[in-house]
């Protein structure tokens, strides 16, 4: 399988990364090189093989459903580029 320029632009859009025409063209080549490399996997017989979900045979730990943390609004917004009254500020999303 390989990607064309339109696919590269669609994937960039999905990944929320702005790309110029030039970058998209370069990425098309690079992605196709990598996809060509991973194509080797199609030779492997994976019939009846379970996909790996965990490398260590363990049940996922679950904590008790209780409040153990909180009241850290200042810490949470402390690194944000723009805030007001402990809210994150973003460009207007509704008219």
């Amino acid at each position: 399988m390989s990607v064309d320029l339109a696919t590269v632009k669609r994937v960039a859009r999905l990944a929320r990364i702005a790309v110029t025409e030039e970058e998209a063209a370069r990425m098309e080549d690079e992605l196709n090189t990598i996809l060509g490399f991973v194509e080797h996997l199609s030779e492997v017989d994976v019939d009846g093989v379970e996909p790996m979900t965990s490398v260590t045979p363990m049940a996922m730990k679950k904590r008790r459903d209780v409040v153990t943390d909180g009241s850290k609004a200042d810490d949470i917004v402390g690194n944000a580029p723009e805030t007001a009254d402990n809210f994150f500020l973003v460009p207007k999303v509704m008219e």
Partner: protein, 493 residues
């Protein structure tokens, strides 16, 4: 008086314990060494000298009052991937500009609880994506090693290039690092240092910037095997904050050093004899086999038939997980923001400006292989292949193999701005050909310096162990180290 910065961790520990030196003296020597060398080596992206000297003073006071932790007064370097409270933590990416977490990672908290001192944050490939440390926003790290008779700059490997270079150039006693596909073991091999990636789940991932969550593991890079054992004991813990942290007590790894390897079964996988492998790598491997045989180990040829599929499978699984993990960098909650005409435009401009070329490449691959219609063909198939890779190892261990010996890397350190690697990303990825299988199977892997190439640069051997049997690796690596000796670069910086 000997140069304090040339002491190993174990040596510094005993000098501190005997009162021959103080942590303030030791830390001061490192601060001065970093000041003198960092412009040449570029191992540190943030030096916390004042904080280091305060921590050292506090450590000396604790010692005076009779309280000493396992790393009391030992100055360490911390990879920029670890969250350190109030201190530069950016995974060496532009997108995390100015980020200073309000919390401490579990691993670093464990180190400080054991009395260690932080010297600063170490350079790395951006988001740990790379094998040369050239993808860092802060510029490449220069390997303290140079080829004989040459002044050309070499890469220290990556992604933990800053960690490896700082340890090799005596800019910290030991360093924390992380390994997703070889990021501890490959730079350790390129710099003549020891690096161990423990079993998945041994060290908590809490507070470590996520790259590929099912593969990422923390581990140390150190001057020798004993130091690695001491560091891992302090770094590892059982942590409720990481659901994949394993509920097993942490053994005293240092106690396994000096134990005989007599009767251990060491597997030699024929699939690691790859096409085009330099003769000197093969010779190094044979030398390692001979040393272990001399020490009484039994050498057994084994098969790991799915080895060649590990790297292609990795380049589906790791980017897929990365594309998901890196979705959080949106210009809203932390780091860089570029203004846009609406929220989507802001996201796209922020991520375009904030991520470097290699990171974008991997996010794109990950997004593509997870997109509608391709998931089964790529991601699901790769996870099935991963099951087969793990099964290969399980079969070998079931047949009685205690550890597996392989080369650590297919070559010694290469040059900065290598043209072939810049032209073809896959060429760079092939650096991890011997290490990546270990991450795919979640096993422990250790790289130990074992010789030099024709150019005089260090080469490493890798030992792969059964899950949670790091002790076998330390014990076996110690035998190799005893035979090979230690490797230090001649100072040019």
């Amino acid at each position: 008086m000997t140069d304090l910065t040339s002491l190993t961790l174990a040596e510094a520990r005993s000098e501190l314990a005997s009162g021959a030196i103080t942590s303030v003296e030791l830390t001061g020597a490192y601060v001065a060494a970093i000041e003198a060398a960092n412009a040449s080596i570029n191992a540190y992206v943030a030096v916390t000298s004042e904080q280091a000297l305060e921590m050292a003073k506090a450590s000396d006071a604790r010692r005076a009052s009779g309280q000493t932790g396992a790393l009391e007064g030992i100055p360490l370097g911390i990879k920029d991937l670890y969250a350190t409270e109030g201190v530069h933590t950016q995974a060496c990416s532009h997108i995390l500009d100015g980020f200073q977490p309000r919390y401490e990672s579990t691993v670093t908290a464990n180190l400080w609880a054991d009395g260690a001192v932080m010297l600063g944050k170490l350079n790395m490939d951006e988001f740990a994506m790379g094998s040369s440390n050239e993808s860092s926003y802060y510029g490449p790290v220069i390997n303290p090693w140079r080829a004989e008779g040459s002044t050309a700059d070499l890469v220290p490997g990556g992604s933990s290039g800053g960690s490896a270079a700082a340890v090799a150039a005596n800019l910290c006693v030991a360093a924390t690092a992380t390994d997703t596909g070889g990021s501890i073991r490959q730079p350790a091999a390129f710099t003549g240092t020891v690096g161990i990636k423990p079993t998945y789940g041994r060290c908590s991932r809490w507070g470590i910037v996520a790259f590929a969550s099912s593969l990422d593991q923390a581990g140390p890079i150190t001057r020798d095997v004993r130091d690695a054992a001491i560091m891992l004991k302090s770094m590892a813990s059982v942590d409720d904050k990481d659901t994949t942290s394993v509920d097993l007590p942490v053994p005293d790894y240092e106690a396994s050093l000096g134990q005989s390897v007599k009767g251990l079964k060491i597997g030699i996988p024929r699939e690691y004899r790859v096409e085009g492998m330099p003769a000197e790598i093969e010779a190094l491997w044979q030398q390692g086999i001979a040393w272990l045989k001399d020490a009484g180990a039994e050498i057994v040829d084994i098969e790991l038939p799915h080895t060649k599929y590990a790297l292609p499978a990795y380049y589906i699984v790791a980017p897929a997980e990365a594309s998901s993990n890196l979705a959080r960098y949106d210009g809203v909650r932390y780091g860089l923001r570029e203004q846009g005409r609406d929220i989507t435009d802001m996201y796209e401009k922020t991520r375009a400006a904030g991520f470097g070329t290699e990171v974008k490449r991997r996010i794109m691959i990950g997004t593509y292989v997870l997109s509608a219609g391709y998931y089964d063909a790529y991601y699901l198939r790769a996870q099935k292949v991963r099951t087969l890779i793990k099964r290969d190892f399980e079969t070998a261990f079931h047949d009685g193999i205690d550890a597996i010996l392989t080369p650590a890397t297919p070559s010694s350190a290469f040059g900065i701005a290598d043209q072939e690697m810049a032209a073809d990303p896959v060429k760079m990825y092939l650096n991890d050909i011997f290490t990546v299988t270990v991450n795919m199977a979640g096993l422990p892997g250790l790289s130990v310096p074992a010789g030099r190439c024709a150019k005089g640069l260090p080469l490493g051997l890798q030992l792969i162990g059964r899950p949670f049997e790091e002790e076998t690796l330390f014990r076996t690596a110690h035998v190799i180290e005893q035979a090979a000796g230690r490797f230090s670069p001649s100072k040019w910086w």
